[in-house]
């Protein structure tokens, strides 16, 4: 039952997604692997599209993965699943929370989760980098072998690493909106393709 699986999976993700959409990428990646829903490349494309379309990343990825695996009903169920924990928790305990929101225990739990969220975001970055910096169809084993043989340049995409570095510098030193950086990176990708370096 693909629909039930989608709903339960996204409910689980909605329940354990803390600190914004990026932290949920490793959770979603794991579930996609378990259920064999998408390839890594497809998933990375979905993350990229979620960054380029309006709305929360959690909603965008839920709808996209749901639609890809179960059509429009799949999209509806995945999206419902990912927001339902928020809805239930907030409607049931929000009046309690207003009373206790300044209670230190909530702050302390957040201080425990934040370092874990950081680890999740780093893992998400490594996951995307692994599939972007290396040429298609390269396994970890070949990477290690090539590295030992000194042919490292043959298996990596130097152009993608350059785009990451330049984007990072632009994002850190300027106030340019991330969506413009993303669009520019896409355009540069196309140009580099026609020059023949990507």
């Amino acid at each position: 039952m693909i629909y039930l699986e989608l709903f339960i999976t996204f409910f689980k993700i909605g329940l354990f997604c803390f600190g914004g959409g990026y932290g949920m990428i490793p959770l979603l990646e794991r579930e996609i692997v378990i259920h064999n829903w998408l390839t890594s490349q497809e998933f990375i494309n979905i993350i990229s599209i979620s960054e380029m379309t309006p709305g929360p990343i959690a909603i965008n990825t839920a709808t996209f993965v749901g639609y890809k695996t179960g059509g429009i009903p799949g999209g509806i169920l995945a999206t419902t699943g990912v927001v339902l924990p928020s809805l239930i928790l907030i409607l049931v305990i929000s009046h309690l929370l207003y009373k206790y929101q300044h209670h230190p225990i909530i702050k302390e739990i957040i201080y425990g989760i934040k370092p874990v969220v950081l680890a999740l975001i780093i893992q998400a970055a490594i996951f995307v980098a692994k599939n972007t910096f290396f040429k298609e169809g390269i396994s970890i084993k070949t990477i290690l072998n090539f590295n030992a043989n000194g042919h490292f340049l043959k298996i990596i995409n130097p152009a993608t690493i350059a785009i990451t570095v330049v984007s990072l510098i632009v994002l850190l030193v300027s106030k340019i909106h991330p969506i413009l950086v993303i669009l520019a990176a896409g355009a540069i990708g196309v140009i580099l393709h026609f020059i023949g370096v990507l």
Binding site: G20, P54, G75, T132
Partner: protein, 183 residues
């Protein structure tokens, strides 16, 4: 009834025009709800946003539910929630349909190689931001390292690592209480 409709429409607009995830929506929510509609005071809004961030789930979704409930009860919560997710849903369905047809074209592949390279930079920026704001204790970086080793080195499901974080938070709180009592 009119209020419920306005609530839906306000969040529909917010959901339609903010790029870059939930955090980008916060200024827009504040402008619409506090400055224009004057439904909620600035102080209450700060509280709502801080609770929204400590709840599981997307920040924009959580704050929509909170604000909706504040203004229109259960129906208000539901209409704000639908307002904030329907634009995303519709746009993604359309994009997903188109993308299925074009995803194998080489030029599209090259564009997406470029885009995912920029996404890596966005993730690094997010990591730097969380790293700056979230390292409250001396052992916080250690928690990050342990979590990272577990995530990358073992096959453990990320959910368990998150639960570990929650438990550690509770333990840290326990230590604080004990230390306070012994003083």
């Amino acid at each position: 009834m009119k209020k419920i409709w306005i609530l839906f429409w306000t969040f529909f607009k917010i959901g339609s025009f903010t790029f870059g995830g939930g955090f980008a929506m916060i200024p827009l929510i504040e402008r619409e709800i506090v400055d224009k509609k004057k439904w909620i005071s600035q102080n209450d809004m700060i509280d709502i946003l801080s609770i929204s961030q400590s709840f599981p789930g997307a920040v924009a979704v959580n704050s929509a539910i909170f604000i909706g409930q504040r203004i229109g009860g259960y129906i208000g919560a539901l209409s704000a929630l639908l307002g904030v997710i329907i634009p995303s849903f519709l746009i993604i369905i359309v994009v997903a349909r188109i993308f299925t047809y074009v995803s194998n074209i080489v030029v599209v592949k090259a564009a997406f190689k470029g885009i995912s390279s920029a996404v890596i930079a966005l993730l690094i920026v997010a990591a730097l931001r969380v790293g700056k704001a979230g390292m409250k204790y001396k052992i916080s970086p250690l928690i990050t390292i342990i979590a990272l080793v577990l995530l990358l080195g073992t096959g453990i499901h990320p959910i368990y690592v998150i639960i570990m974080g929650i438990v550690l938070g509770l333990i840290l709180y326990g230590f604080k209480i004990i230390r306070k009592k012994s003083k």
